[in-house]
Subunit: 293 residues, 2 copies
């Protein structure tokens, strides 16, 4: 069994990005600039956004945090998006989800200029990814693909089972795993809450990507020997063991599955650190105008 060390890979990529930024700056190029828009004071969102801002600093990006209280109107957010769309100094920006209920996430996402949509949530980026055109791939699927690559895990002709059909993980990672090339060329099965025989299906899988959001869903008796397991779950459960009062639980019963797995990601320290790094890479691509002019 080999542990897929997302933290180490993320650190490695962070170093690669920082080196590239140093060169860009040395050559008088523009420092990539990421703006994060944060509405309200949700604990998870606060943590994610502060990690993103901190990572920007670590790789040498410029970053700006724009905060709104949770009673901000949809109009104000849309006006902010419009301003960021037009600001030539801003290479990419994200509006941290979830938003308060009185603001339409769909409207906000569609208002973002797709050329600055480093989260890859705009329908144009989603569509271009599906078709196989250059685009901003959303952070979690991009991070998963990168882990498979860095560990040289074979995917061609492999039986890949995706658990979950969410717009931000399940559907896009299914699309990426079936694309032509590497990592891709896998036979992909997408299971979800309506699938009656998930255990049977998982037992046939060479690669399982678990993204249902159900803690410890994937048990030891649901996988075959040598399987590669990517755990995307990050459910916060109360815990007396940690200072924060909670800990992250993956979708995989790690202690059971690890005995059979060929490769497996831990939670935390697997997919999580890759997600932020994928956002950094998208910001770098945006800064270099490599995907869109």
């Amino acid at each position: 069994m080999q542990l897929i060390d997302g933290k180490a890979i993320a650190a490695q990529i962070k170093k690669e990005i920082a080196e590239e930024v140093t060169i860009i700056k040395a050559n008088g190029g523009k420092t990539p600039h990421l703006v994060a828009v944060l509405v309200g004071h949700d604990g998870g969102s606060e943590t994610y956004v502060s990690n993103k801002v901190r990572t920007c600093e670590e790789v040498g990006f410029k970053s700006t945090l724009i905060r709104y209280e949770s009673d901000v109107t949809e109009e104000e957010i849309l006006a902010c998006v419009e301003k960021l769309n037009k600001d030539a100094d801003v290479d990419g920006f994200i509006v941290q989800l979830p938003l308060p209920k009185h603001i339409s996430e769909e409207k906000v996402i569609e208002a973002i200029d797709y050329r600055k949509d480093v989260d890859g949530f705009h329908p144009i980026n989603v569509g271009r990814m599906s078709i196989g055109l250059p685009c901003f791939v959303s952070a979690t699927p991009a991070g998963i693909v990168e882990l498979l690559k860095r560990y040289n895990i074979p995917t061609q002709g492999k039986n890949c089972v995706v658990l979950g059909r969410s717009n931000i993980v399940g559907k896009p990672i299914a699309g990426l795993m079936m694309q032509k090339g590497y990592p891709g060329d896998a036979t992909v099965t997408v299971c979800h809450s309506r699938t009656p025989n998930i255990k049977e299906i998982c037992l046939e899988a060479d690669i399982i990507i678990a993204a249902m959001g159900v803690p410890e869903f994937l048990k030891g008796d649901m996988v075959k020997e040598g399987v590669t397991v990517i755990d995307v779950g990050t459910t916060r459960v109360p815990s007396t063991e940690t200072k924060s009062g909670f800990k992250l639980k993956g979708d995989v019963a790690f202690d059971e599955v690890v005995a059979k797995a060929g490769f497996i990601t831990p939670v935390p320290g697997g997919v999580g650190p890759m997600t932020i790094i994928s956002l950094m890479r998208n910001t770098l691509l945006a800064g270099k105008k490599e995907i869109y002019k």
Copy 2:
């Protein structure tokens, strides 16, 4: 075994659309207007486009055919697209594919205003479909879904195998079959040229959607009793039996598979007629501004 009669369903929907157009006109509404752009004289394209124009007439739409010789420049086509984008009388338009090699299909598709993209090929429509937002769904997948609906074929929790991962059929129909709701909620597996064990996978399938473009690929010994088979294949093979000198072959060895199938589409007369009808429905939706304002 029940034959899925695409021709009859298409005729029924044609009648429904024609009735709606009659009402729209009686109420002084705008007659839906579809424009088809045809480049060169490819036999298949000529047939498709003339069928589309004829069907427009039959349902009471206005239709316009714009023809270019195959030496037309990319700039001329893009200028034509731009003009159609701006023409308020045009509700929807299509540029018939394939285009000559010196013209980028990608550029042309992306130049089309997505609100008039009744073929559903623009990345915005592809992305919105993937996310589950209202959009123009491309004609073949939309036609397949409509057939399943009209025959009340259960899909929830069913094992649906899609053969082929093309941008215009395989990927979008996989996305539709896994969406929440009906027809959807299926467990979807996408197989393709890199899948080593297609036979095994097909033997487990409740629904098979064959879209590989390989004539008679799906044999009788690859399916289980009671399977629903949707044949998207339309390969033209030379034939001495027909006036045209060719006939259409599906991806399914019909004579073998029919003995085991619960439901099956013939070729021709299955998915084919539904494709044109889906384009008509998209044009009607465009005319009524039901999806985009």
